[in-house]
Amino acid sequence: MIAEAGLAALWLAAALAILQLFLAFGPSPVRAVAAGPVRSIAIVEGLLTVFAMAMLMWVFARTDLSVLLVAENSHSAKPWLYKVAGAWGNHEGSMLLWVTILGLAGAALAIFSRRLDAKTLTAALGAQGALALGFFAFLLLSSNPFARLSPPAFEGRGLNPLLQDPGLVLHPPTLYVGYVGLSVAFSLAVGALITGRVDSSLAKAMRPWVLGAWIMLTLGITAGSYWAYYELGWGGWWFWDPVENASLMPWLAATALLHSINVLAARDSLRAWTVMLAMVAFSMSMVGTFLVRSGVLTSVHAFAVDPKRGTFLLALLAIYVGAAFVLFALRSGKLSEGPKFELVSREAALVGNNLLLTVILGIVFIGTLYPLFIEALTGAKLSVGAPYFNAVAGPLALLLALLVCVGPLLNWKAGSGEKLKRLAVPALVGATVLVIAIFALPGDGILSRIALGIAGMLAIAAFLPLVGRKLRRTPLSTWGMVVAHFGIAVALTGMAASTMLTKEVLTAARPGEQVQVGPWLVEFESVTPTAGSNWTALEAELRASRGDGVTVLRPQARYYTSPPTETTESAIKTVFSGQLYTVLGKPAEDGRWQLRLWWKPLVTLIWLGGALIALGGALALVGRAWRGWRRAVV
């Protein structure tokens, strides 16, 4: 009954989406009275999707093996947390989560965006309904998560062991909230193009959504990076894997949007550009979902591939993105250019930010799809790896970081000359630091050295917007900007330092032997068998010391029984100055074991920086919400 209730809720929600679409875009007498009903419908639709998701989590929590999805992806001997999280550790469940967030976003848009003019809101809700309808159809027609299995299975087939990790509980939901949260920006842009009202009130209505989605994307990417880092046992924090790129591209677009939206809100400028970015950002989310779900690109995220589903998703993508861009071409001609601004101004700096981010986005996009284009045209198979991305996107990202030092200090419109003069001395000092950093540091990699120098400058420059302000009266959103920009400096430091200074040892050692890696002396004590509730493992005992006390690390080579899979569980020791990362590999024939050891100085700063960037976003969001609330109350 639980599964059937969930399925019924989905069908009802789909029916409501049709009604919503009809009310918002139907004949004009219908549209005239649509504003109220469309909002109510959006809210009910959101509640129904949440109900359906709750039902799916319930059947997973109970391990109801008469539900096909549970039988195929769960197992009664699995820890409780992973049973529930397993609800979205598979294709159908994760698409339901996607749709749930889409429904919730529609409901939230209906509830919170009352200050936007009614026609634009109605059209935006109609667009949101159109999006929801397509994905409801996808779920119900080709990916029903509630399908029954008759007779019920005796035991479930288990969850991919790589996914049995706290990362699974957090990583997909945060990323999805980010992905799908951008749908609101998309719908608002569509709505505003239809009504022709692209102005600062649209930007103000759109901003919290973009900000919220961007925070979640930042967290999701940061968490995913750390998860891959310790779970895959390859010691890297970013692999330029197509699925990683699929999450990075909406983030880049959203970051650009976040900045251009401020220009639209404050200066009523960059109208067509902002609208297009809002469309591109969510289009990137959909492309990402398609790439991941259709399995067309070879990736560590090897999900089950079903051509029918891929075709369905691609058709949805074609309809939505195609329609949005046609609308843009036909209607954005109406949008007049906003007020002009000088070359040295806040607007110009933000345009620079947008151009750089867009070019980086293009680079990542081309790199991700290039193998596909080449194979389609010539039949040759190739892959594009880190060397391309690092070499091409890296310098541009550094240029952007340099711009971040200056941009926030400039004034809107014009008259930044005075400020720039005051900047001259710090900039000179900064440049000196940069040069020293480039030449004095050990290790190799010119890009990393420059990055380290720029990071140092930015770490200071990020706080300059606070100079000369009364700190107590500085708006929270300014604090948010400062923290986020400082986060970039922190993350950049981590990336550069760990790239430059990492020490790696790959060795085959007998128990009892010692290995030196960086400042650490690692003694290989023993390998012993051990077991958990659904796995067995060989566990090494390593005693690591830097002259002050001994740390014991226990990396494992795990073997999961259902489904049969081998994984390596790295053991990591985090100290203030970095991480010691250890992996137990295969046994050699003569009683030696493969050991992989890394000393990664400052590597934790990467994720700390990511968290700071998200925190900055959160501060800005809270600050703006607080101000809006006070204005509404007073």
Binding site: V296, A302, L317, V321, R331, E337, L369, A376, P564
Partner: protein, 189 residues
Amino acid sequence: MNRYQKFKVGWVYLPLGCWLWAPLLLFLLILAALVWRLANPPDSDVQSAMVGKTVPAFVAPAAVPGKPAVTSGDLADGNPKLVNFFASWCVPCVGEAPVLTMLKQQGIRIVGIAVRDRPAELRQFLSDNGDPFQRIGSDPESRVQLAFGSAGVPETFVIDGRGIIRMQHIGPIEADDVPDLVQAVKDAR
């Protein structure tokens, strides 16, 4: 205020500048590539180029005492069979073993090639997991494996009576695969 005059035709605003269509054109290009990809799915497994060809000549000496060795001539003895590449150090092979026994019980002839293995461990593996093999050849340097065009263990090949490779199965054989493999061996007759 505007750089150029704008006209409204119905709902549409003119002139329709080229750049307004740029996002759409770019998107259509990408869409075409994605459609092509869906129509031509990538092959992630390394398929052997040997399927449909005769097994190359090889001699794999007996891997354990009491089991005959395997030569390419043994494979062309008029009977269709499975050639299973396995190893005692290969963990998925343990999971595959009961399924191989099941296949043997259905009358399928199975020849084993032990890849990079040692006799003592191999004997232990066979006594732990059952021995469904008619012959077991030793392939200490993966030469036989490479000759078959196999990239990993376990892998299983269907060979017809004339010694021609009919089919390749990559990864462990699971219970679901049994009917297909039995049918493939029958078809190879």
